[in-house]
Subunit: 289 residues, 2 copies
Amino acid sequence: MGVLGPKGSYSEKAAKQWISEQDTKNEVSLEYYDDIPDTISAIVDRTVDIGVVPIENSIEGSVGITLDMLLENDLNIIGEIVVPIEHCLLSKGAISDIRVILSHPQALAQCRQFIKTHFGNAEIRTTGSTSHAAKLANEFEEMAAIASRESAQMYGLDILIPNIQDRKENHTRFIVIEAHYEGMEKTAVATTSPQKDNFKTSIIVYLKKDRPGALYELIGEFAKREINMTRIESRPSKRELGDYIFYIDFAGHIDDANIKDALDNITSNVGMLKMLGSYPICNSNIIRQ
Amino acid sequence: MGVLGPKGSYSEKAAKQWISEQDTKNEVSLEYYDDIPDTISAIVDRTVDIGVVPIENSIEGSVGITLDMLLENDLNIIGEIVVPIEHCLLSKGAISDIRVILSHPQALAQCRQFIKTHFGNAEIRTTGSTSHAAKLANEFEEMAAIASRESAQMYGLDILIPNIQDRKENHTRFIVIEAHYEGMEKTAVATTSPQKDNFKTSIIVYLKKDRPGALYELIGEFAKREINMTRIESRPSKRELGDYIFYIDFAGHIDDANIKDALDNITSNVGMLKMLGSYPICNSNIIRQ
């Protein structure tokens, strides 16, 4: 299983949580990658069977590169995990020593106000993961990483300030993905429980251009069948400004008759429909403050 | 007018383009700010009359901090400008000298593949703007900035490699905003042409929770009146994962009878509706490849 590395990343935490929830008796070994594109590429070229990457955070929103790579590659989503995030400021030095702050761009964005208020003059460097930031921060006392509590111990850093994200409520949703190819079999790790309750399905849709009302009709296919849409997110098509692709999640399994029916109707009216898969809803999704 | 500084930023370019299109005879002076939050704060506390900030890019999508600050503050959008973006790699040194690459996180994301392919081992530092990166890159030959062609000349750098974004088609949409307060008058700079053709209106909507189909009904208010929705974007409400706020743009002016009617109907069915304003559509929005 491929995850964002090095050890101590939130992806690793998500992966371990997911593995512990599976019925499989197979031993799962983790492979660590430098960044999200490398992790997904290792899944696509089948260097690893499956992988875990972040897709959405409750403060900063979607992880653009993950959405883009789901569109550009043939991948199935087979699971999701929601992980509570508690960013800490970690360093070998004291607070007054800090001149450089390192972290992944998403984590930096989640702590934007904190950095501005307390370290307005610090140099900001981006890394491929929060745990990589922690590893680098071990080199100089003037460096601090924004990373998890666990990575402090792992890389010999002190927790200078805990819980530094701009909002207390901070969760990241990760997805478990595998390559989709001709003649594929179910991976040994992925075990889908037989009953189809409590599943969600993810699709990507590109609407036909110059057809006002196309999005309304699309959503209508779900609404009139009382299918609950849990998420709709737009991404640029990258062809021109103002042209979008929609990422839609809804409750239910692709094998459900009403969902099959809705998707059949949608297919004939859109420019492109890409199935990403049906997978069990993570219950910790419903955590409230 | 507040813009992202220092001189040579794409915001400055957008601001100058917008000023040249206005009928005003008033002299407009530009004030430069370190980052997007500082620019917007200067508008909110009325240090400047109006300001220009990026809201959306054709490769990387929405600028999260701009969307968040439109929600959190009382602001009117009074105009938009679409600027073609051509990122260049700028430095005082040679390509083989480059160890550090500096730029704004959005520009870094727009050049992700380029950086990975050609400078996989470079250290990546983020700055408040692309022009600030160019200014800093003047200090050391081992530093390169990702910034506009214009900022090379401005900060004594060579264009090592032009046009480095991952997609040739690259446009950023900027908005012109002013503070909204009790008893405000129209600013001297903002001149809105009397005819209401070719306007768009921007709103923010928070749907009532636990009401499946609420988004469908909302979009239906536009669809059944043949109002053309040009953009729908979700942002996390930051309360919990899976809870979203919608940013919607549609063709037409708030004074149009059918739009007034649609908004009246929407107001009574949603948790929150915030008007951001009606403003002339930027024609360069319709650029195609």
